[in-house]
């Protein structure tokens, strides 16, 4: 892999990190409301995985979606504006943090019902197979989602019909405040996929190159008609589940221990040691990212809220912008 791409991996991870740190700050200022689920600590998973996807592939993820939106190419300005609930946001302020999209790359969201989007991703896999396209559909979800029936029903259908679907499970050891050992009978989520005859593997989700490599294998497996593939990425969320999380369920040392395994400095050191890049390269990249994020906050702040007149737009797609008020308000 050439240095350019390696540095781009770094840039993306660093962008996601800084984007969310600034978002957390804006949340504290009251500029952002509702939920804000930070991806901090898990950036290598999204960046490595997305890098192995092509224009034709489809992506569905859960509410912890800022990393995926940025990695797949959503405009940071639009992403931040969405968090602010502005008309210039990715969904014009309709969806918010949990429902980011990037239709140009078949990134269909950002869903907030745990497990609910997994069948949707399998459905895209069915559409790909029906249209005989050379593509895969990717479902991103957490360890907790594998305890939901939606995952199992979808996994069985994907395996039964040999659909090109990559199941990418981010095992960050917790579902909200419940540790995996209190929610799942089996310690590795991969075991559940195997129960449906799905092949897969467990990887280090803190290693962006490992994520890139495993995703390439998964895509290759699916495109060769072998059916779905399951990736269990072992990772950890450095922050609370959402901004309101008191984190009463885990102790400081545990968090500290995992913080030693921060994918961003790890990768930076790796590149420096391998002399693939210099300290200056990183300073330049980090400075650029600062500007991008600064601009995103400014853009979001200065953008307007959606006009009240648009409140009925798109209730029915067929009505479109005309946004007819339903016969009753």
């Amino acid at each position: 892999m050439d240095t350019g791409q390696l540095l781009d991996f770094y840039r993306q991870m660093y962008l996601i990190r800084r984007f969310e740190e600034r978002a957390a700050e804006q949340y504290a200022y009251g500029k952002i409301g509702g939920f804000l689920h930070l991806y901090i600590g898990e950036e290598a998973v999204a960046v490595g995985a997305i890098a192995a996807m092509t224009e034709k592939d489809h992506l569905f993820t859960h509410y912890r979606d800022h990393g995926y939106a940025l990695a797949i190419g959503a405009d940071p300005n639009a992403a931040m504006a969405e968090l602010f609930g502005k008309e210039t946001g990715t969904t014009s302020g309709r969806g918010g943090s949990m429902h980011m999209i990037h239709p140009e790359r078949n990134f269909w969201g950002g869903y907030a019902i745990v497990g609910g989007h997994i069948p949707l991703a399998v459905g895209a896999g069915l559409a790909i197979k029906h249209k005989k396209e050379d593509a895969v559909s990717v479902a991103i979800f957490g360890d907790g989602a594998t305890n939901n029936g939606a995952f199992h029903e979808a996994a069985n259908m994907a395996s039964l019909w040999k659909l090109p679907v990559v199941f990418l499970c981010e095992n960050n050891r917790y579902g909200m405040g419940t540790a995996v050992e209190y929610a799942s009978a089996v310690p590795q989520m991969l075991t559940k996929a195997q129960g449906h005859g799905i092949e897969g593997e467990i990887v280090d989700g803190q290693d962006v190159l490992a994520m890139y490599a495993v995703m390439q294998r998964a895509v290759e497996h699916c495109k060769s008609g072998k059916g779905p593939y399951f990736i269990e990425a072992m990772t950890y969320r450095f922050r609370g589940h959402s901004m309101a999380d008191p984190e009463s369920y885990r102790d400081r040392e545990e968090v500290e221990r995992f913080r030693q395994n921060d994918p961003i400095p790890l990768f930076k050191q790796q590149l420096l040691d391998a002399e693939k890049a210099s300290a200056e390269d990183f300073e330049r990249i980090e400075a650029e990212v600062e500007e991008v994020v600064e601009e995103a906050v400014r853009f979001a702040d200065e953008s307007d809220f959606p006009p009240p007149s648009t409140i009925y737009d798109w209730v029915y797609f067929s009505d479109g912008e005309v946004g007819k008020e339903p016969e009753r308000g």
């Binding site: 969904t91 014009s92 239709p103 949707l120 559409a127």
Partner: protein, 347 residues
């Protein structure tokens, strides 16, 4: 399911279109659905059918009988017993650009898919700012017939509450075919509710192709004394009651078939009530919070000064459906209950 062997045997004869006295073709409700599916599958190779036992078994109400032989397993897909998952799969396929027509065997089982219908399909367009849509069509059936407490319900009132969803519940072969074709071609998620007890009903259906917009109710019978409002099998029951009321009591009923339950157009109803000054709603749901509640509430809102009597509501008794046939007969409203309610509204 509710279809009996006798019913199945008579399918063959059902398949023969009959020509009525005016030389118009009459086909069954089931056949109207089959024509709609066949025409849309022929017109668009991206239209696929999915559902439990729709293939080799032919569908529990045999609507898709023979389809898998004709179109193959790729376009007529038997699904596992996974209501939640298969509804999500159909919705995701719609997002990704094909046109799945999903059959949920009965509306009772749709409760398992509620999250996908309400929190996913119905919200895609709006929640994502109109950047894409999920035009999935979900066919399902209401109905009863000693099927017990968990297999005899009808939940149209719940789905009609949901912004973003289109809900239709046709009572005639004409509407069934026209609505289904429009639903498959349309851009929105549509819940298409059939009724197990009317699949063999016959009605006129043109031989030429046609579609019907998914909106508006229909006056099925003109009248002057009272407005009878219903949908699906209830609309047929209401027409039967109207005839008897005319003959036996000289009461002239205007009968309105709601047909489309969301968006719910009550303008036609209100216009009628302004003329008749009385209204009775007939439904198979439990009365409390059935669709009739909304229609009654709107009538008093929009025709307050025209009402000479409270809007009457006839619904099922508020119990889980008992199996015993004598009790079931008491629970589901029949012609007599409708007639009583009308007489009361006129008292």
């Amino acid at each position: 399911m509710a279809s009996t062997l006798a019913d199945l045997k008579s399918l063959e004869e059902d398949m023969l279109a009959q020509i009525d006295e005016n030389g118009i073709r009459e086909i069954t409700y089931r056949q109207a659905l089959q024509e709609a599916l066949t025409e849309e599958m022929t017109a668009n190779e991206n239209v696929i059918l999915m559902g439990e036992d729709i293939g080799a078994y032919g569908g529990s109400y045999v609507v898709t009988r023979g389809f898998q032989e004709e179109w193959g397993r790729e376009r007529v897909i038997d699904t596992p017993i996974s209501e939640l998952g298969m509804t999500g799969v159909a919705t995701g396929a719609a997002i990704a650009g094909i046109r799945p027509v999903l059959e949920i065997m009965t509306i009772n089982f749709s409760l398992l898919a509620m999250d996908q219908i309400v929190n996913h399909a119905a919200k895609i367009s709006y929640m994502f700012g109109g950047h894409f849509n999920a035009p999935v069509v979900i066919r399902t059936a209401a109905g009863w017939g000693q099927l017990g407490a968990t297999h005899s319900q009808t939940f149209e009132a719940w789905y009609a509450h949901v912004p973003g969803l289109r809900v239709v519940m046709p009572s005639t072969p004409l509407d069934a075919k026209g609505f289904l074709k429009s639903a498959i071609r349309g851009d929105d998620p549509v819940l298409f509710i059939e009724h197990s007890l009317i699949y063999r009903n016959r009605g006129p259906v043109p031989t030429e192709e046609y579609t019907l917009p998914l909106e508006g109710s229909e006056v099925r019978r003109e009248g002057t004394d009272v407005t009878l409002i219903s949908w699906s099998r209830g609309a047929i029951l209401a027409q039967g009651a109207a005839e008897e009321l005319q003959e036996e009591h000289g009461i002239s009923c205007e009968v309105i078939d709601m047909r489309v339950l969301r968006p719910l157009d009550t303008d036609t109803v209100v216009e009628s009530v302004k003329k008749t000054n009385r209204a009775v709603i007939v439904e198979e749901s439990w009365r409390t919070l059935g669709l009739g509640a909304e229609i009654a509430a709107r009538i008093q809102e929009d025709a307050f000064d025209y009402l000479d009597a409270p809007v009457g509501r006839v619904g099922s008794l508020e119990v889980p459906m008992p199996y015993a046939r004598n009790l079931e007969r008491l629970v589901i409203p029949g012609k007599d209950e409708v007639i009583q309610a009308v007489l009361q509204a006129l008292a």
